[in-house]
Amino acid sequence: MKPEHDAGVSRRNFLKWIGAGGLISTLGGLFVGSLRFLVPNVLYEPPTLFKVGKPTDFPLGQTTFLEKKRLFIINAEDGFYAISSICTHLGCNIRKAADRFECPCHGSKFSAVGDVVSGPAPRPLQWYRMKLSRTGDLMVDKGDLVDHRFRLKVVA
């Protein structure tokens, strides 16, 4: 004759499931906690918003490369704009070559406004928002991406 509790979950199985659940949730919690621990909350990186100089430091019609900031400042007829010098393929520094930009790592080529002309780069170069500080300095915000229509007009 079978015991009655065989029809449902036995006490032994119930405790087994409780034990397994406890073990899995403990290990899972530890894993998730450890993974979250790996994501830094504070970064000691250079600020994304910084001054690049007075508007008069950038001659009209010229492209100026700010090596340490890894960007180009272009003073065009219709205003200022800033293009990143970081190749969108694998992060190498691109160089100005005549009327376009070239990447030394894998040969991607970009137009004067940063559109991909040839090579493996998947996206155009990034454009950053430019601002004018209270002291009249040009500022670039690398944390704020803008499209190709962006221009900063500076009234003398």
């Binding site: 790996l38 994501v39 830094p40 970064l43 000691y44 990186e45 250079p46 090596e67 340490k68 890894r70 393929h89 694998l90 992060g91 190498c92 520094n93 070239e102 990447c103 030394p104 790592c105 894998h106 040969g107 493996p120 998947p122």
Partner: protein, 416 residues
Amino acid sequence: MKKASDFLKGCWYSVFRTGWPQSAKEQSLVMTSSLFLHLHPVKVKKRTLAFRLTLGLGMISFFLFVCLVVTGILLMLYYTPYPAAAYRSMKDLEFAVSFGWILRNMHRWAAHGMVLIVILHLCRVFYTGSYKKPREFNWAVGVFLLILTLGLSFTGYLLPWDQLAYWAITVGSTIASYVPVVGDKIRYLLVGGNVIGEGTLLRFYVLHCFILPFLMVLLISVHFWRIRKDGGLASPEESPLPENVLEGDSGQFPPSPKTYGLMALSEGGRHRKAQWGDPENEVFSWPHLLYRELLLFMIVSAGLMLISILFQAPLEEMANPTRTPNPAKAPWYFLGLQELVHYSALLGGVLIPAALVLFLVALPYLDRNPQGAGVWFHPARRQGLVLFTVCLALLTVLTLIGTFFRGPNWALVWPW
């Protein structure tokens, strides 16, 4: 005098349970009474000692790993994992620390050598069909060991903090960001922020010196242990394992390939045929196997030292995030992938490597042909051999193109 001699003998016996083996019994005892020697079986098949079967590649890669651990620990005593200080450590090792240059060279060349030898070992195991049943799992462990070897080499690449290091890691970590959906998060975790800096160096240092070596030791142990449990090296004479091993009768011991697996015999279970452990074809590991290993270790360490004296490990100028070298190249073993990345980062950096790893892990489970285990280029495996060789040749050609035929702006150039 006799008391002193007895005392010394007692001390010796407290550590070593046997003296220098003189008899067959002592040759057995010496292997089973030592933790380290017990990694070996008491006896090995004569044919597995033949150099032409294995070319010693597995042991050479293990010995290189030992050299890497020893030199790595010594280098750590002078290394500071902080950007400018890290580069200064390299200069100190090269010019100020006694024998620092040779230790750094040995570490560098052993790392490159280990990558090469582990790849060759994988090829040897494939071409001799040694991954076939019952060694499927050990093959998979071997594939993970290859990945760990590449990971160790890649993380170590950043530590000198020179231009070569900085830009190889820039390229490598950006490739990680091409993984669909979570790519950017993976890069952020790996780099420890948005830009490669002190956080990245510390992460790579911890990965290189603690996490990956720990995993490596763990998997090497499993790899060695499985070689023994799977009956030593693959041999065409061994009888196949009985079917449905896991579904044996209740209370029955699983079949054992060990020559002294009496547990299986005593239970009358399904076990391999008796001729499989034929004593006529076996010799004691002491001294036949151990002397060969010792000789190989001496050759590896002497060769490594010679190379390290003759060839200086590269060290370029300090890392400069604003100046990309032209061309910026990854380490040689990633140049095949970099060549593919030149066409498409997603394809070359993510999809093809992932497919390759999956293919390699699944290989012994996909290849159902039981013939050809333990024989070089067995004719019954023609299709598999051709497919593998084509893949290998493609990867080699891509690596050669990336190494010798790519110049500034990744344009095709002649190497001369």
